[in-house]
């Protein structure tokens, strides 16, 4: 179980990296944390002819708050998020989410941006990005652009990134303290990919839900917000019945994946349970 041969490049600057991508991107791959790419290479499921290792590119490993936005650089590792990196509603949530990502030795290497570039349907960060409608900054020799998750996630392991492009920064809106959060994930073992994951963000005003973001991951080919469930929640008190109904709506809204771990029917059941649980947390009950 050894990888096929490849050419190795270790650029020191973003410009160098983008130049290398322009030259080799077609048959090459960006190596960041490598925690998904290298297993695939060891199994020879991935055989990039070139690897552009961005780990030595200076200045990409930042996580900082700026103008109400949490900016996450391309080399910020999962482990960085185990301790609070942001104020507001995300302060407590991100560490909880981070601890669901595999195990510590994986989190030491793996990166937030790498997860988004890989776009595994069960990625927690992809779900958070999708639910918060993050802004994704993308660069290439041709210039820079930003996209939203709704256009970015195309299918399982497929994104809107072109072969010469690098995902350079993820911008999460910093939610203020009026937002309450919930996160629930079901996996078979500790650290396994979630078979269903829900992230819920509710802004509550005078006992009523004023704004809602409910995202589901792990269950379909890409993470998505469940608009119908959000609509149902807005204006409600977030009680038991409405939460259950929101779960039911979410379970019906997704097009579930079927694989060796879970059938479609099982995934729908899990989505219902995870949505209910995330909402219950967000509602503080």
């Amino acid at each position: 179980m050894k990888p096929a041969a490849f050419r190795y490049f270790a650029p020191r600057t973003l410009d160098e990296a983008l130049a290398l991508l322009a030259e080799h991107g077609e048959e090459g791959k960006v190596l960041a944390g490598g925690q998904s790419l290298v297993p695939a290479m060891n199994f020879r499921l991935a055989r990039p002819a070139s690897l552009i290792d961005i780990n030595r590119v200076a200045g990409l490993d930042y996580v900082r708050e700026q103008d109400g936005i949490l900016r996450i650089g391309a080399l910020a590792r999962h482990a960085r998020f185990e301790r609070p990196v942001a104020g507001g509603a995300l302060a407590a949530l991100l560490p909880r989410v981070a601890r669901h990502i595999a195990h510590w030795p994986i989190r030491v290497r793996g990166t937030f941006a790498g997860s988004l570039a890989h776009a595994d349907p069960a990625s927690e960060w992809c779900l958070i990005a999708a639910t918060l409608d993050a802004e994704l900054a993308i660069a290439s020799r041709r210039g820079t652009r930003t996209v939203r998750p709704s256009e970015y996630f195309v299918a399982a392991l497929t994104t809107a990134l072109a072969e010469d492009e690098l995902l350079t920064e993820i911008r999460l809106p910093l939610l203020d303290r009026r937002w309450r959060t919930g996160f629930a994930e079901f996996s078979r073992r500790a650290g396994d990919y979630g078979l269903a994951i829900c992230a819920a963000f509710l802004r509550i005003e005078q006992g009523r839900i004023a704004e809602a973001r409910v995202g589901v991951g792990g269950a379909a080919d890409r993470p998505s917000r469940i608009a119908a469930a959000e609509q149902l929640l807005i204006g409600s008190d977030g009680g038991n019945t409405v939460r259950r109904e929101a779960g039911r709506i979410a379970a019906q809204a997704i097009e579930p994946l079927e694989d060796v771990q879970a059938s479609a029917a099982f995934r729908r059941d899990l989505v219902q349970a995870m949505v209910e649980r995330a909402l219950a947390q967000a509602c503080g009950s």
Binding site: M1, K2, P3, A4, A5, F6, R7, Y8, A10, L31, G34, Q35, V38, P39, M41, N42, F43, L51, D53, N55, A79, R99, H103, W104, P105, I106, V108, R109, R189, A190, G191
Partner: protein
Amino acid sequence: MTDRIDVTFTVNGRTRTIRVEPRRTLADALREECGLTGTHLGCEHGVCGACTVLVEGEPVRSCLMFAVQAEGMRVRTVEGLAEGDALHPLQQAFWDHHGLQCGFCTPGFLILAAGILENNPAVEEAELRESLSANLCRCTGYQNILKAVLAAAAGMGKLK
């Protein structure tokens, strides 16, 4: 065939330069080029943790890192735990508490536990249960691994 690359890094305090193909994983380089066969390969896809080593003081799967990526870095393997004849407190605790049977997962668990204890001022049992779940053992049912790490942590004044 791609060209071999010189890599200089520090393993257990000793600086080494090896020449490897880019596709050589850090695990294979430690075993083959450095002759440090205590780092074991149990799955080569990052799940079992038998190949766990410390890179810059933190535990990583050495099967998921290429040796060329370790250029200039400090790596610590199971061979770097004991000081001469004196076993590391974790090694001693694994011995005292029967924390190993076949011994194949043991280097990975020792290194993982060393990483946990060295990176935290103090740990409690629940945290240890969570962080030790990173590696697989097929012999012990984890009972005595947990017991050994708890004992070592207590002995090192690291138990909450």
